[in-house]
Subunit: 332 residues, 2 copies
């Protein structure tokens, strides 16, 4: 159901409504906001809808005592939006499913909603509805509805032999933040720059949209589980593989004194998840049109699509190594 006004649940829904609903009401495309059986949304002519949903669960994706609630609010929406970015789409509205203990409807919820509102406004994605219930653990599920011009969506499949493989930003920064957070015995300020990408990731919506409009990418995915795992989706065995050039790889910088405790930069960059950078392929013909930055965001060419079956790491010591998927899998 859409947020129904109930006797006690109404306290929770009123809070969500005040924090996010009013912004939604002013959005032209959402015809009916919070307080009915379902939301109404008016799609634009000539567009397809992008539909995606994402779990964000206490204990699995965040820790109640370690993660600031405003980061939980920001990140649950930002990571769902990243799937819209990976299709080259524009986000329109979202549904929030929230299960929460009675004890957290006060301060925790206020901060959570502050972070969620910030992300909602920053990325132009309004709250359209959702569902709430009481639960011991905090459970979140976000559904995002986006749009893309019909036929312009960039899929995971589509990479051809010889296409350049490119990635935005710097990889491993979110994993660095997570390890710093895990290693700290004391509370860490959420303003610590090392934690920024772990706590407040930025879906690469502008880049994704631009690549789709210019029809520059032959395939695309966002890096959520880790580069080594996600690249396999663009270059699936046995008919696709990749030859990667370590010199060009945009790995996070880790101070030498932290490496023993936190991890090696390349390990974080190859297998750490949660970066939400875009990984995409570009045909030989179009590669010269690709800039090295887009609106200040670095774009790194890191290798080529091959006929497979392996992801080959062309390491400096002249021995080719095979890169195996080492990213996050909830069942491993």
């Amino acid at each position: 159901m859409c947020f129904a006004k109930r006797v006690r649940e109404s306290d929770l829904i009123d809070k969500i409504d005040k924090a996010l609903g009013r912004y939604a009401y002013s959005a032209r495309e959402v015809g009916l906001g919070i307080g009915d059986d379902a939301a109404l949304f008016r799609p634009r002519a000539g567009h397809e809808l992008i539909l995606t949903c994402d779990w964000f669960l206490e204990g699995t994706h965040f820790l109640r005592d370690k993660h600031p609630p405003d980061s939980v609010g920001w990140k649950c929406l930002a990571r769902a939006l990243s799937d819209v970015a990976a299709m080259g789409g524009v986000p329109r509205c979202f549904l929030l499913s929230l299960a929460i203990p009675d004890s957290h409807i006060g301060r925790w919820l206020n901060h959570f909603l502050t972070g969620l509102r910030r992300a909602s406004r920053r990325f132009g994605c309004v709250l359209a509805g959702g569902d709430t219930t009481a639960r011991e653990s905090i459970l979140i599920n976000i559904t995002v509805v986006g749009e893309v011009r019909t036929g312009h969506a960039i899929r995971r499949s589509g990479a051809q032999d010889g296409d350049s493989i490119c990635v935005s930003g710097r990889l491993g920064e979110a994993a660095l933040g997570l390890r710093v957070l895990e290693a700290s015995k004391h509370a860490i300020s959420s303003r610590d720059l090392r934690l920024r990408k772990h706590l407040y990731p930025e879906p690469r919506l502008a880049l994704g949209r631009w690549l789709a409009e210019k029809r520059l990418a032959t395939s695309m995915i966002d890096i959520s589980d880790g580069f080594s795992t996600d690249l396999r989706h663009l270059c699936p065995a046995p008919h696709r593989g990749a030859l990667l050039a370590p010199d060009c790889f945009p790995a996070v910088e880790v101070p030498a004194r932290l490496r023993t405790r936190i991890g090696e930069p390349l390990d974080l960059a190859l297998h750490g998840g949660d970066d939400y950078e875009l990984l995409f392929t570009v045909s030989r013909r179009k590669f010269p049109s690709l800039p090295l930055t887009y609106r200040g965001l670095k774009i790194s060419p890191i290798g080529y699509v091959t006929t497979g079956p392996h992801l080959v790491w062309d390491s400096n010591d002249a021995k080719h190594q095979i890169l195996r998927p080492g990213g996050w899998d909830p069942f491993r």
Copy 2:
């Protein structure tokens, strides 16, 4: 993300794909099914989209040991579809978010998917994507996308003084089934007729759509939390109330020998939830056009909308009683 093929998570996703994905691929409107960042959906011109999501959580909405897994699969979709019925819409596709323990990816999941597929085909709503993760408890969230001709959706607000209040089917049957299940010490066959509406509810899609097309209803809601709670949404205090006629009230039949243990019929009908019948109002002018059944489903006029503020139960002993919301609230 949309169901991504991963190393171990892939077992789970392959199963879902085999059970439901192939049906989705044959549907014209879902452009891209399981296995990409997000699903693509092509809306029809002249229509608005109906967006709704619903929690279905072990321990809160079902019990792992008491509820047959195929009923869990059927019901999680059926109850989300009921919100589309309550707007007068037609369901198109759905997203499945599933968190499940490793131990349940075998037999339990097979039966769950059988029930989900049956509901998906029965109600013409195809799987478009979703998200999966590992978790101790079984957590389900369903997002449904439906369509309705622009301007034809039936909202909760819209009831006017003097409108007739009508309800489909018989109320309290689901609550009866739940109490029979709770009271039983031994396993009960899921074919037991008393359990049918609790385990395999039927969203009233055909009736809802017909009421919207004919513009017969001034307001509508589905009865999910219980009649006494849901009627308040159509007749909100202080400016709306209702005068209800007990003689016409379509309450469940409970054998006399069971009443002490299971409950009084009227109590189950007024406050029991999960019936997923439609509760709607019809203007005086259009009321004569309303049939007493629609495709075999009984429609009962049960009273009138008043200027409020109370829901008044015009009981047989000539004393008017005030009906207070006694339905389900997760925070109570």
